[in-house]
Amino acid sequence: MTTINRADFVRLGSMFAGSLVLGVGANGCSNQSQGAPETAGFKPNAWLIVHPDEKVTIFVNKSEMGQGVATGMPTIVADELDIPMENVLIEFAPAAAVYADPGFHLQITGGSTSTASMWMPLRTTGASARAMLVAAAAKQWGVDPSTLTTKSGTVVDAKNNRTATYGSLVGAAASIPAPAKPTLKSPDQFTLIGKVNKRVDTPLKVNGTAKYGIDVRVPGMKFASVLYPPIFGAKVTSFDATKAKQVKGVIDVVQIPSGIAVVADNSWAAFQGKAALTVQYDNGPFASQSTDTLKARYLKLASDGTGAIPAVERGSKSLTGKTLEATYFGNLAAHAAMEPMNATASVTSDGVEIWAPTQIQTIAQASAAKIAGVPVDKVQIHTTYLGGGFGRRLYSDFTNDAVWVSKAIKAPVQVIWQREDDTQHDWYKPMAANRVSGVLDAHGNLVAMQHTVVMDSILKGLGFPLAPNGMDSVSMDSVVNTQYEIPNYHAYYINPNSGVPPGSLRAPGANWNTFVMETFMDELAHAAGKDPLEFRLALLQKNPRAQNVLRTVAKNASWGSPAPGTKQGIAFGFWNGTSVATVAEVSMDGNTPRVQRAFVVADVGRAVNPTIVLQQLEGATNYGLSMALASIITIKNGAVQQHNFYDYLVMRMNQAPEIHADIISSSESPTGVGEPATVTIAPAVASAVFAINGKRARVLPFSLAYA
């Protein structure tokens, strides 16, 4: 058995401090939890309630957007508590300080961090509750707790041949103090972690009963849709709502800071009213910008290095040898989550209530409080299921709008975006220009590399702080923290401040930078006359986990022996602690790469739910491939030119490859799985295409690279 030390426990205790959730006491770890009269359950802390009927409600502080946290988080608690999954009820946690992520100090779901950051806190909370139930039984029976064990929701006194279910102990447990050092299971005692392969939400998601933000229905609520200025930074100067108000079902038209909101009886009437608005704008300075003007500026910055901020400076910049140089250009892309942005809000004199598919409860809450002019603790947030997130719902623009409209009309309202709004008012995967150079020694070893990234600041878009020198570690992800052991390495960041809203999109920064790094690695390996796998392994000699994913994916894919009519490409990536590698088997269909099979392997530490890990590797592979194939957002006269899925192209069934995903699971702590596999598929495909026709993709999407 392992025990957590006092310092860990104090840290955990401070996480609970200040909880006012559901009648849980000010210190969730002490036992001031009998307060809530509506249930006779045992509430040892803010994370769970043991009910007399043996069911246990577990509060999930992360947003379920498909990545499986609604299953994974409770699995961790349930294992340490020692209950079967059938007894678990889940509830999405309200917005409260107690539910903040211990790393971010915000209630947020992002960066593939949920399992990694909640692993120890959730184990401890389950173990603590289990110890209290054992102590309650020991007290009842007048025996030493150390003589008792638990099994599947029952305390067992083997010596005296008696048992007590947790449900029967809820009253007795209420007077038991929380242990200072709850004893955690040793991994060989896990009954659920690594073994549960079902998801708790699957049954709800095949029969239409899972409730997403768009499904929220509140008595008396209206529906609204907002016309946003098409040009970034533009402002409404005047508008005429006469025709909009003539649409059957339209109730009101109100101006809010972001645009003009049409309020109606139903969503469709709101859309019709929106189309009937006449609006004048002050277009602002961005109106003169286009993809072409921005691209020219980015390429010039990458070339001349104006404003470059040093991110890594290691060794010499003046090595000579065989030198390769290349410039890569990445276009804007949109998240395009299936559920369009939406939120429902009710602003009253008592406060604000919000129902939303949000990834960022803390900021949505603070922002709503400011808009409504109420204290933060008067803003309640109910997190629904999310119809995809991919980082889009880390922004509170859509929750803010619901609050503004509800405040204006003094009624509950659901603000719903049309797909066109979603496409044209995203926080985009930033445009980027990367200039790279590499030097090979006489033996074909990579001895020096320089890498300059021109990309808007993703951290700035999120409202998060940058480094004091202005370096953005997210926009520079996979460049500043490359796993390759290159003795002489120089990396620079240039922030173009383009005026396009810069977004956090699945493996932000890394999804583009890895494409550059890995495609360039293939260029270098080719120039060195080396096998691309061996070339990489030679640069990862101190990194056994990275080597292992590369060797495993090569073995799984029979690297070097592609299926007839195909060529292979390989790529390696690293995202928030997870090493990942992909081999793509590709043929060409005219100018379009057709991925016949993709093999992906990730080292995720301990896999809490192997099926969910595989789902994420498969899904991220498809997401990355979808974006690389033909997803492009372009700007003309300051506005996005794409509208909907007919001109913002994403993968459908007919482009979906056969994917063989594999996990390297170990006894290491869990690492993230939602994003890593997004980054390796595009460079693997690009290298396979090079093997087919000798064309290098130095631009994404492929629809431009191979046109």
């Binding site: 498909g66 998801r199 239409g208 099926t611 991220a620 979906a656």
Partner: protein, 152 residues
């Protein structure tokens, strides 16, 4: 007044003839299992059955549904008794975010009425519903399981 029969139940609704069926189902009748994704028949999230045909309800005016039997995801099966496709979806753990899956299930169950044993190639040709979580591979496996077919 527009009279619609949804999942065997008759609804008399005071709505315009041209209102898309999607919004009558979601915002007026209040069945929210059918989803809005694009509004222009591109993504298939809103797929329902009109009699035996799978249609995209976001571009189907309610006038076109009058006199027909409308079936939504809520009537494909029940929580207690999921139909064969739903059972296969559960067994193969198809959904991630799940938002598109109502439409996927309605589109594929519609296809099965004319092609009870679709191949992967049939699915690629006939099913254009978008899934941004990328569950396509698991959908293929689940369809094969439900129909006794083989995946590639």
């Amino acid at each position: 007044m527009v009279s619609l029969t949804i999942n065997g139940e008759k609804h008399d609704l005071d709505i315009p003839d041209e209102m898309p069926l999607l919004w009558a189902i979601r915002d007026v009748v209040g069945l929210t299992g059918t989803k809005f994704g694009c509004g222009v028949a591109q993504c298939g999230c809103c797929t329902v059955h009109l009699d035996d045909a799978a249609v995209r309800s976001c571009v189907t005016p309610v006038s076109a549904a009058v006199g027909k039997s409308i079936t939504t995801i809520e009537a494909l099966g029940t929580a207690e008794q999921p139909n064969a496709l739903q059972q296969a979806w559960i067994a193969q753990e198809v959904p991630q975010c799940g938002y598109c899956q109502s439409g996927q299930l309605m589109a594929i169950s519609g296809l099965l009425k004319t092609n009870p044993h679709p191949t992967d190639a049939d699915l690629a040709q006939s099913i254009s519903n978008i899934c941004r979580c990328g569950t396509y591979g698991r959908i293929r496996k689940a369809v094969a399981q439900a129909t006794g077919g083989q995946t590639s």
